[in-house]
Every structure is written in structure tokens, then in C-alpha cells.
């Protein structure tokens, strides 16, 4: 299911950018959690870009919510990017779960980076 998926960690100045590609579900949720944790490395601001993700399930959504809460509670920052190019189901699960207002979601990476630096 996830042979076409990848999680990549890049750097944009002082911000770590975690890029999700392909399908992500229960089987890759733990890897995502670990990738975000490593990228944060204490207090580095993290932007998770889901624009190239074609599918995420509720387990992945759970990780995004949990990481948002963790960042809020320990004073670090996390932001999410769901660009227009993300899979239909990625947009849909965010709508269904009603988390667009709960999570700091931007529609492009530049906006997310600006938001997290401000």
C-alpha cells in the first residue's frame, strides 16, 4: 500500500521541512511521528508539507493533531501545508474531520514558513 510513499526531511533555513509523498496510512504513521520528532530535535520549528501526498488516513491525521498539541504544550512550533496539488482524499479527510480550523494549515509552503517564523 505504501511502496510509493516517502517521508523526506529537508531544511529551509532555521525550519525543518518534512515532505510527505504518496499514500500514508496506519502502516507509515509511526514513521511520520518519528520523522517529525527527529526534525524537531528539541525545538526546531517544523513544517509538514502534504502537498505531494495522495492519500492520508485517520491514523496520519492523528499524528498531525498530536504533533500540533505537542508543539503547543512544549513551546515549539509546527505548521502544515496542504497545497491544491494534494490528493482529493487528503483535502476531503481534513474537511470531514473539521480540522481545518483546528490545525495550522496553509495552502502553500511559503505561507507556512512565513507563519511559523512570525
Amino acid at each position: 500500500m505504501s511502496e510509493s510513499s516517502s517521508i523526506e526531511v529537508a531544511r529551509d533555513g532555521d525550519v525543518a521541512v518534512v515532505v510527505l509523498r504518496g499514500e500514508h496510512d496506519l502502516s507509515t504513521a509511526d514513521r511520520l511521528r518519528q520523522a517529525i520528532e527527529r526534525a524537531r530535535d528539541g525545538s526546531t520549528p517544523v513544517v509538514v508539507d502534504l502537498t505531494e501526498a495522495t492519500f492520508i488516513d485517520s491514523a496520519v491525521l492523528g499524528v498531525l493533531i498530536a504533533e500540533h498539541e505537542r508543539a503547543a504544550s512544549n513551546g515549539s512550533a509546527v505548521g502544515y501545508v496542504v497545497g491544491a496539488g494534494a490528493g482529493h482524499s487528503v483535502h476531503r479527510i481534513i474537511d470531514l474531520a473539521g480540522v481545518a480550523a483546528v490545525l495550522p494549515i496553509s495552502s502553500d509552503r511559503a505561507t507556512a514558513l512565513r507563519a511559523i517564523r512570525s
Binding site: M1, E23, D25, F55, D57, G62, I65, S89, D95, V99
Partner: protein, 608 residues
């Protein structure tokens, strides 16, 4: 030609042939791969080099008390039989040579008997040179005629024997290294075998198969069952001997309480046992009577290891490893390997038992998550379906519920993130909270708000929930008036009796993440023959490679259902669509609830 030149010539010829023999010996020794090959090589070309008529190589056994004949040349068979073993004392010339690390030279038969009276009456050589081989054995070279040995000759012999000793030591070392590699490979293989199977009987059968012949001639696995000690597996290099072991087990069953049981002792103490070599004293200590002793002696055990199977502080059984047919003896390295093997096996048994117990717990828990039976509501068909993801072990977080209230009824469906007991507890909380809140909260959105607060108060971190709650009131036309709220849950689908599809509910925030959730109530009417379908995301997220069933796929299935289809047949169609969309069990739990008013509502109920 003078006598001197003749002598010189014959000396040169002799030297030439001796050098040639020496070269052959060196080459053969270098090519030896096993200890036995090196020993044989020492005798075979070796005898020519030493110009001896007979030769014996004897090795000191592990206990250091006896010599075992490793190879013989030139003696009659009956001598070989007589001399299979002899004690490590000064009363024997070869023992004396190894003990003193000095050559022992005997020039003639009278001298031999005078110095070594124990050899009186045995078949023997006239003259004898015994040389130590390292500290592990020695070689005796025999000559049919009386003979003297000058210093140069002895020096030569000592040098050649040293070369032979080195070759034997090297091959023994290689063999030990090989055994170590074998032991490591065995452990790796065992780990893989244990991971493959959750059935511990299969697992332990594999332990025995792996151990023989790599680590034992015979392997017995005993497991403590509630009914007592049970011999689970017996494997022997000579399958014919298994019957004898089994027979012994039947006549003298291993018993944890029996003081004369070696396995029993290990089970009681939890300590591994290494017996190397097996002595008469040991046999006596672990047998109950003379016939038991005879039966054990008949097995011909030379060395044995018994390791307990202990997992999480509980003794589950024991593994017995025996060398009998091969003459190998166990050492501390073998004991370590056996202990690792037992540790892994014990953990596998424990996991298998735990798995069994957890499946039971899961089943019981799941029972608490779902209603035993849906209430019968006059004039309304209600059907639910639940498909658990994968095997029974992981309790899913999906739930549904339907219950009667005063003149109305409630329908809830939801999905708690995560799996396992933690999620199950949360699911149970969610289901019952919705039910209780529905009795005093005026609207579905208020009911879900209560659930949101409840989860925020109780939930372990990283856990949230999606839920849909619908309140249904039978109406005068035989249909039902429905109010629904969605908390992060996919909307329901209304299938009108003419086949048209509509969305049931407005999207809302998932529950258990923050206080200020956005939840709204949506009202609609279901006329007789209209259908409300609620399901969890396991339906729409059902995937096959890159394809997903999706809301579109679900809509297609529902649009294809003819009017007049019962709630039961609609639920079945959705279930079939999920199962047939991809091969294999669903990766996520699936819950489906279908509500369909039939129009046959008794007037008194509608008026209530």
C-alpha cells in the same frame, strides 16, 4: 667402491626417501580439514616417515582422566578393541610421555614389561617411542625389532610430531569455529522460526528439529501444561532411537516433583544443567531403580545439557540436548547457546499464550463496544454491520449503537483513533456517553459536545474520536424526522425511494482535541421507503493499490440499489462492496448502520 661410499650412498638414498615421505606428510596435513583427517594423516604418511611398524594416537578426554584412542595402525584388531581407553597415569608409556611432556623410549620387550607391568600379556611392539602432542594427546610408535634411538633421530621425530600436533590443533580450532558459526546460525534460524508461528507447539517442534544434529544427537522438549509435564517433541539423529526415548518417558515420566528426575531438578531450580561427560554417578542420581538405570544406560548418553524454558519469571518447561551416538562433549559455549535458544523459545511460547489470552480479551471487549441486539422499532428497519480489520487481536475503535427513548430513538456511530485495549476503553466510554447524554440533552450537537468534553477529560494523549449522532422521531406519514450532528465524521447518505442521493448532516469538528468544536444540527425527513446509511471511514477509505472506494464509490453502490430494497439488503450491498473492492481483510474496522422506515408504523406509536 669402498664400504664407506656404499654407506654414504645408502644414507643419501634413505635421506631422499625420508624427505619425500616428509613432503607427502606435510602436504597431507595441510590438506586436512577435520581433526580426524589430521590424525589419520599423521599415521598414514607419518608411519613411513618414522619408519615405524605400528602407531597409536590417543587423545586426552575433556575430564583429563582418560585417553581415548583416536587412530591406530599396524596392531591386530583385538589390540585396538582392548585399548579403546586407558587411564591417564604413569603406568602407561604414552600417558607418561604426555604427563611429563618428554619422550618415553623403550628399547626392547623385557624393558617394556619391567617398566610398565600393566602391559604384560597384551599384544605389543618390541621397541616403543612415545611422544607428547601438545597437551591434548600423544603418539606411540612401535617397532617389531629391538631398536635404539639416537638424539638426532629423536629430535627429528619430535619436530615431525610437533608439525602433526599443530595440524590437529588447527583443525580442532577450525571445527570449534565452525561449531560457533553453526550455533549462531542456529539461533538466527530459531528466531525466524519463532517469529513465523504463534502456535508454540509448532515452534517447539522446530526447536528440536533445528537442534539436531547441529547441537545434539537427541533433543527433547518438555512443556509444563496444566495437566503436568508433557513431552512435546523428541528428535534423534537416528530416528530408530526415538522409540527408546519415548518408551523411557512412558515408563518413567519426567516429573517436576520427582527428586530423581534431572528435568524435574532443572524445572524446580530454574538453573541450567551441564553434564559432561555423563558418569555412572550421574546416571545413579537421576534414576529411580535398577531397571530405570539399565534403560538410561542403554541410551548411551555421553554428554547432556538441560536448560529451563523461563519467560517473565515463569518456568514453562525444559529443553534437553544429548550427545550419544557422536562422541562429542558439551562445553560452556554450548551451554550458553542452549540457554539463548531456550530464552527465545520460552518467549515465543509466552507470546503464543499471551496472544491467545489477548484474543479472548479482545473478543470480550469488542462485545462491550457493540450492542448485543438492536432494538425492534415498529415500522422501522434497522440493520448494522461490523467488519473487524485483520485478525481478532486488535480491538478496533469503531462503534455503533441504536436505542429507544420515549417515543423516539437514537442512532450513533463513531470511530476512536488507535487500536488495542486503550482505544477499546475510549470506545466504550464514547458509546455510553452518547447514550446517556441523549436522555437529557435537547439536540444531537449538544450530545456530541458532552462527548467532546468527556473525551477531553478522560482521554489519554494522542487519542480522538469521530462520531455521528442522529435523533429520530417517527412521524404521522409513517416516516421519521431526523436531526443529525457530525463530529469529524463522514456525513450519512440519504437514499430517496426514487434512487436520489442526499448528504445527511453538516461537517463538524472531530471530538476530543479542543473545547471549541464546531457542531451543527441538520434536520431532514425520511419518508417511508427512504433510507439513511451511516458508516465509518473504513468504508470510504477502503483501498486497493492506488484506488480508493471513496464517497463516490459508496454513492455508486447506493445509487445502484433498486427502490424497495430492505435495510438488510442495503447493508449487505455496502459490506460486499467493501469486501470485494480489494482482496484481503479490511485494513481498518468498518461499521455500517442502515435505517429505513417502512411506513407501517402503528398510529399509537407515532402519536406517543
Amino acid at each position: 667402491m669402498t664400504a664407506d661410499t656404499d654407506q654414504t650412498r645408502s644414507d643419501i638414498a634413505w635421506l631422499g626417501s625420508r624427505l619425500q615421505h616428509l613432503q607427502t606428510l606435510s602436504a597431507t596435513l595441510a590438506g586436512a580439514r577435520t581433526e580426524q583427517e589430521a590424525i589419520e594423516a599423521t599415521l598414514n604418511p607419518g608411519l613411513d616417515v618414522f619408519e615405524a611398524d605400528q602407531a597409536v594416537i590417543a587423545m586426552l578426554d575433556e575430564s583429563g582422566t582418560e585417553f581415548r584412542i583416536a587412530a591406530v595402525r599396524g596392531y591386530p584388531d583385538q589390540v585396538e578393541a582392548e585399548w579403546a581407553m586407558f587411564p591417564n597415569t604413569d603406568e602407561y608409556p604414552l600417558s607418561a610421555a604426555v604427563r611429563t611432556r618428554q619422550p618415553v623410549i623403550v628399547n626392547g620387550p623385557e624393558e617394556l614389561i619391567r617398566r610398565y607391568p600393566k602391559l604384560e600379556g597384551t599384544g605389543r611392539s618390541a621397541a616403543l617411542v612415545c611422544l607428547p602432542m601438545g597437551d591434548f594427546g600423544g603418539i606411540a610408535l612401535g617397532y617389531d625389532r629391538e631398536k635404539t634411538f639416537d638424539d638426532a633421530e629423536l629430535e627429528f621425530m619430535t619436530a615431525v610430531v610437533r608439525q602433526c600436533s599443530e595440524a590437529i590443533r588447527r583443525t580442532a580450532f577450525d571445527a570449534e569455529r565452525g561449531r560457533r558459526a553453526e550455533r549462531l546460525a542456529l539461533l538466527a534460524e530459531a528466531g525466524a522460526a519463532f517469529a513465523r508461528s504463534l502456535d508454540y507447539r509448532t515452534t517447539l517442534g522446530e526447536v528440536a528439529n533445528l537442534a539436531v544434529p547441529a547441537m545434539a544427537d537427541c533433543c527433547i522438549v518438555d512443556v509444563l501444561e496444566p495437566t503436568g509435564l508433557h513431552q512435546l517433541a523428541t528428535v534423534h539423529v537416528e530416528p530408530g532411537k526415538i522409540a527408546r526415548v519415548a518408551e523411557l518417558e512412558t515408563s518413567y515420566p519426567a516429573d517436576p516433583a520427582e527428586p530423581h528426575s534431572a528435568v524435574g531438578g532443572v524445572l524446580r531450580s530454574g538453573e541450567a544443567l551441564l553434564v559432561s561427560p555423563v558418569t555412572e554417578g550421574f546416571v545413579r542420581s537421576v534414576t529411580r531403580d535398577e531397571s530405570h538405570r539399565d534403560a538410561v544406560r542403554a541410551l548411551g548418553m555421553r554428554s547432556l545439557i538441560i536448560v529451563p524454558l523461563v519467560a517473565r519469571g515463569r518456568t514453562l518447561g525444559a529443553i534437553t540436548l544429548i550427545y550419544d551416538t557422536s562422541s562429542r562433549l558439551y562445553d560452556e559455549h554450548d551451554l550458553t547457546t542452549a540457554a539463548s535458544l531456550a530464552d527465545r523459545a520460552a518467549l515465543a511460547i509466552d507470546n503464543a499464550r499471551l496472544h491467545q489470552a489477548q484474543t479472548e480479551i479482545a473478543r470480550t471487549l469488542q462485545h462491550g463496544l457493540l450492542p448485543d441486539a438492536l432494538p425492534v422499532i415498529p415500522g422501522v428497519e434497522i440493520t448494522a454491520r461490523y467488519l473487524a480489520a485483520g485478525e481478532g487481536l486488535e480491538v478496533g475503535g469503531d462503534f455503533y449503537d441504536v436505542w429507544l427513548m420515549d417515543g423516539s430513538f437514537g442512532v450513533a456511530i463513531g470511530d476512536v483513533s488507535g487500536k488495542g485495549a486503550r482505544a477499546a476503553a475510549m470506545t466504550s466510554l464514547a458509546r455510553h456517553t452518547v447514550r446517556v447524554a441523549s436522555l437529557h440533552e435537547p439536540t444531537p450537537s449538544r450530545v456530541l459536545r458532552v462527548l467532546n468534553r468527556e473525551i477531553l477529560q478522560h482521554r489519554p494523549p494522542d487519542m480522538f474520536c469521530t462520531a455521528a449522532y442522529a435523533h429520530a422521531v417517527p412521524s404521522a406519514d409513517g416516516g421519521i424526522d431526523v436531526t443529525i450532528a457530525l463530529g469529524g465524521h463522514p456525513p450519512g447518505v440519504i437514499v430517496r425511494h426514487d434512487g436520489g442521493l442526499e448528504q445527511a448532516g453538516d461537517l463538524g469538528t472531530l471530538l476530543g482535541v479542543r473545547d471549541d468544536v464546531m457542531l451543527t444540527d441538520a434536520d431532514f425527513h425520511l419518508a417511508p421507503g427512504d433510507v439513511l446509511v451511516l458508516c465509518t471511514d473504513g468504508v470510504i477509505e477502503r483501498r486497493d493499490g492506488g484506488r480508493m472506494l471513496g464517497e463516490e464509490g459508496l454513492a455508486e453502490v447506493l445509487a445502484g440499489i433498486g427502490s424497495g430494497a430492505t435495510a438488510e439488503s442495503i447493508a449487505m450491498a455496502v459490506e460486499r462492496a467493501v469486501l470485494e473492492f480489494a482482496s484481503g481483510a479490511p485494513e481498518d474496522d468498518v461499521a455500517i448502520v442502515v435505517v429505513r422506515p417502512t411506513g407501517a408504523i402503528p398510529p399509537d406509536y407515532a402519536d406517543a
